[in-house]
Symmetry: C2
Amino acid sequence: MASKAENGRKNDPQRTQENILEVATEEFSTHGLAGGRVDAIAERTRTSKRMIYYYFGSKEGLYLAVLERSYRKIRTLEADLQLSNLEPEEALRVLISTTFDHDEAHPDFVRLVSIENIHHAAHMLRSEAIRDLNVSVIETIAGILERGVSQRVFMRQADPIDIHMMISAFCFFRVSNRYTFGSIFRRDLSEAATIERHRTMIADAVIGYLKA
Amino acid sequence: MASKAENGRKNDPQRTQENILEVATEEFSTHGLAGGRVDAIAERTRTSKRMIYYYFGSKEGLYLAVLERSYRKIRTLEADLQLSNLEPEEALRVLISTTFDHDEAHPDFVRLVSIENIHHAAHMLRSEAIRDLNVSVIETIAGILERGVSQRVFMRQADPIDIHMMISAFCFFRVSNRYTFGSIFRRDLSEAATIERHRTMIADAVIGYLKA
DNA sequence: ATTGACATACGTACCAGTTCGTACATTTTG
DNA sequence: CAAAATGTACGAACTGGTACGTATGTCAAT
């Protein structure tokens, strides 16, 4: 009677897919697309390799699903910042801190983006889902910059995408190049004190640039 | 008689190795370590797969040789800047421009570094050759910063490694993340006007940061 | 409520192509 | 001639993908 008796299997498609994606994210982000092994993923899954192909069709299909899932996760986090009621400078500091903390907290995501770049973003280009995101950040920055300029807090008329790039570059690089950088300069970029210093540094640099 | 008659083969170990390394650099930088194919490299070479193993022992050995060669190439370029007779601010601008132009001109190198980071810099760590480089940049920056502070041109006492990271991050990111960035924001980062703007931007930002 | 039919979800074993690496033979060079 | 350099052909293991069979859930008709 007990429905899960003995070796009783329980169909749970959603959990199975989620489980596969979780494991696959880890595998691909540590070994790359070509380096990631479908068998290795299957082994660490509650289910079997058959299910990977059942749900995702191919290795590339799985990889794309992993990528989309990672991007989708950010959107939810980054959306609900209430920046429009803050002073321009403060708003920008909050936005920068958020980006900084996000990259620091999601090395998997950073690595996947690096991997995508090695593949010339070929998979991202084929996915409408992904391209639609991120654009909102630019509008947010544009708003802050405009307000800052009209209030004479910012002296420089800067391109929002350029500013976004400057912020992203610093936050992303700290995580993406952590290992080579650490290996060359014997510096651990994940130390608490270093993190604090860098978080302030990038904000000061960007705001200083806009004020000049 | 004629030494290279008919199908006459000419032994030229140095050129053979160099040829292999050239092709391998291209292969690994576009496909990664796992994605790069030894057979594909061999085919595009003047020689055969046998020679790859003769000279480099294994796929990983070849990859490491590619990596070391790339790093060695930079050192020669970056060494002979005469910065000590320039004013601090000007010296820093020249150094930043050089870094910027270097990354822009050597996407292969940038990609290899990205790939190394995906592998947690495992190969770099095993190579003394590579670690010894790059350290000179820090001494150069340290010198500039000291002079700048004592001349009251720079108001801020900054860590040279942090400054190097800020510069590297921006220059590196522009190239390493060119594809995903371009795909999301529909912006071509290799346009001449954009390059010019960004080169000035990073210099202004860093110098502004130090002057604040 | 029970049965049967059908779609969905899942597991095992296996195959076929790829890919790193090598054995063996040969040529060049000093 | 010996050592270094090179070419050809092949093997063994790995790896993405699949054929085949089984279990689970759903729903309509009894």
